[in-house]
């Protein structure tokens, strides 16, 4: 940017000015509407057209503000810190000579976009001020104070849509076989239930035991219930193995599965 050449001479001065600016901002950090608002305020200290604002200087001022806030252990919202990181990156881009290999927007492009954003925000603020300064209804000009009663002649029409009609029909025709969907929980043994059941038992299983012996009582007669209980018990035993509390073995395919407590390593 333009200022880069002068930087070596102004470095100290700017940093003092920045610190003072930062201090002034921190007094009222809650009054700011985010990082862009802070940047806009900072840019005013440069007393130049927003299009000609030195983004590099702005970045430094902002970083000083964030540093200062940190030193004072002020809680800054996350977006202030994200902006600081981005500006630090932008600053390095602006200071380093452009890398011809590098893809993506140049530092100058990024700076130009930030300047555009600041100018646009300022323009909208000016527009808002001009809007509110206009003559307003109920303040500067007025509507009729006493409105005349307009006699209302009401006619009522009834309407229904094709969709109403179809839904109405569907409702009647399917009323009999409609049943609210509820999970049939009576015949389901859950993984949680199985785990709860097995945890206290596993500590006593020093020897290999058939997994089926862990099935809860009353779940082995009905095939549906047995299937659910078996699946849950097997899943629970895998969970215990994963936790390092148990070991599983099976001698061949479809052979009974055995389970025992995992011995602590000596």
């Amino acid at each position: 940017m333009m200022d880069t050449a002068q930087q070596p001479f102004q470095n100290e001065a700017i940093s003092v000015a920045d610190r003072m600016a930062a201090e002034a901002l921190i007094v009222d950090v809650d009054g700011f509407e985010g990082p862009l608002d802070v940047l806009l305020t900072l840019s005013r200290t440069q007393k130049v057209d927003l299009l000609k604002v030195s983004v590099l200087q702005l970045a430094k001022q902002y970083l000083a503000f964030v540093e200062h806030a940190k030193a004072l252990r002020l809680e800054l919202a996350a977006d202030y810190l994200v902006m600081a990181a981005w500006l630090a990156f932008l600053k390095s881009r602006l200071l380093l000579p452009p890398d011809p290999e590098d893809e993506g927007p140049s530092g100058a492009d990024m700076a130009a976009h930030l300047a555009f954003q600041l100018e646009r925000l300022q323009a909208m603020r000016d527009a808002a001020a001009r809007l509110m300064a206009r003559d307003q209804l109920g303040r500067d000009f007025f509507a009729r104070g006493q409105t005349q009663n307009v006699a209302r002649v009401r006619t009522t029409t009834y309407s229904a849509t094709l969709l109403d009609l179809m839904q109405g029909y569907a409702r009647i025709r399917t009323r009999d076989d409609f049943r609210p969907f509820v999970m049939d929980r009576d015949n389901v043994f859950t993984l949680e239930q199985a785990l709860e059941r097995m945890r206290p038992m596993i500590g006593f299983a020093g020897a290999w035991t058939d997994l089926t012996s862990y099935l809860p009582e009353g779940w082995d007669n009905d095939p549906v219930r047995r299937r659910s209980a078996t699946a849950a018990t097997f899943a629970a035993s895998l969970e215990l193995v994963k936790e390092g509390q148990a070991e599983l073995r099976q001698s061949e395919t479809f052979a009974p599965i055995h389970l025992r407590r995992k011995e602590a390593r000596a």
Partner: protein, 215 residues
């Protein structure tokens, strides 16, 4: 404008300007305004009584009049234009659920007797519901049924088709399509399939569905 205002604080505004003031105050005020109130509001030295007389003349024969109400003044619309102050509103109300269902049954099963409607709906059909549909000219009486008692039947009218944008009652989607469109939640009842065009291709049904979703 601000020029005038500035001077008005010191010198009495011209009568033309006083007329404007009286006019604005009369217009914006919710109640009739007394001379005293005019004097209190307007700059010192104004003569609202004279301004009112001038204004009244100006509005003579217009659509709005300046009238005296007791010892106060008000603006009123000209009495001969009262007919303009009538606003015709058409209130649209949704058809009741009972009426919609009855109408749907007639459309799907026509010609259908009252007893048949009641059998399908599972509740008795009130006289009012049928009357309402007759009055809307969405249904009318069909041929009497050749069954004991020769009960009257109901059929839908061209007005019904027009209102619902149908070429004919046969264009009503069948249960299969209703299901495809997500309008049906469960299995079709085995008995009494509706006389809808069940032969429609699946593809067509799918098109219908997407159309329904567009809305």
């Amino acid at each position: 404008m601000s020029e005038e205002r500035k001077t008005s604080a010191f010198t009495v505004p011209p009568m033309e300007e006083q007329e404007r003031m009286v006019e604005a105050v009369l217009f914006a005020s919710a109640e009739p305004v007394t001379l005293r109130e005019f004097e209190a509001r307007m700059p010192q030295g104004c003569d609202p009584a004279e301004a009112l007389v001038n204004l009244r003349n100006r509005y003579d024969g217009r659509g709005v009049h300046i009238v005296k109400v007791g010892d106060a003044w008000a603006m009123r619309t000209a009495p001969d234009l009262g007919f303009l102050m009538r606003e015709e509103t058409i209130e649209s109300r949704k058809l009741s659920r009972a009426a919609v269902e009855t109408l749907a049954i007639i459309a799907y099963h026509q010609p259908v007797t009252r007893a048949e409607i009641e059998e399908i709906r599972g509740v008795s059909v009130s006289r009012g519901t049928i009357d309402q549909l007759l009055e809307l000219e969405w249904i009318r009486l069909g041929r009497r049924k050749m069954t004991p008692g020769r009960p009257v039947t109901f059929i839908v009218t061209p007005g019904f088709l027009d209102h619902f944008g149908l070429e004919s009652a046969r264009d009503l989607p069948g249960l299969k399509e209703l299901r495809a469109a997500g309008l049906l939640e469960s299995r079709p009842p085995s008995a009494m399939m509706p006389p809808g065009p069940e032969t429609l291709e699946e593809d067509e049904a799918a098109t219908g569905q997407s159309e329904l979703f567009e809305d």
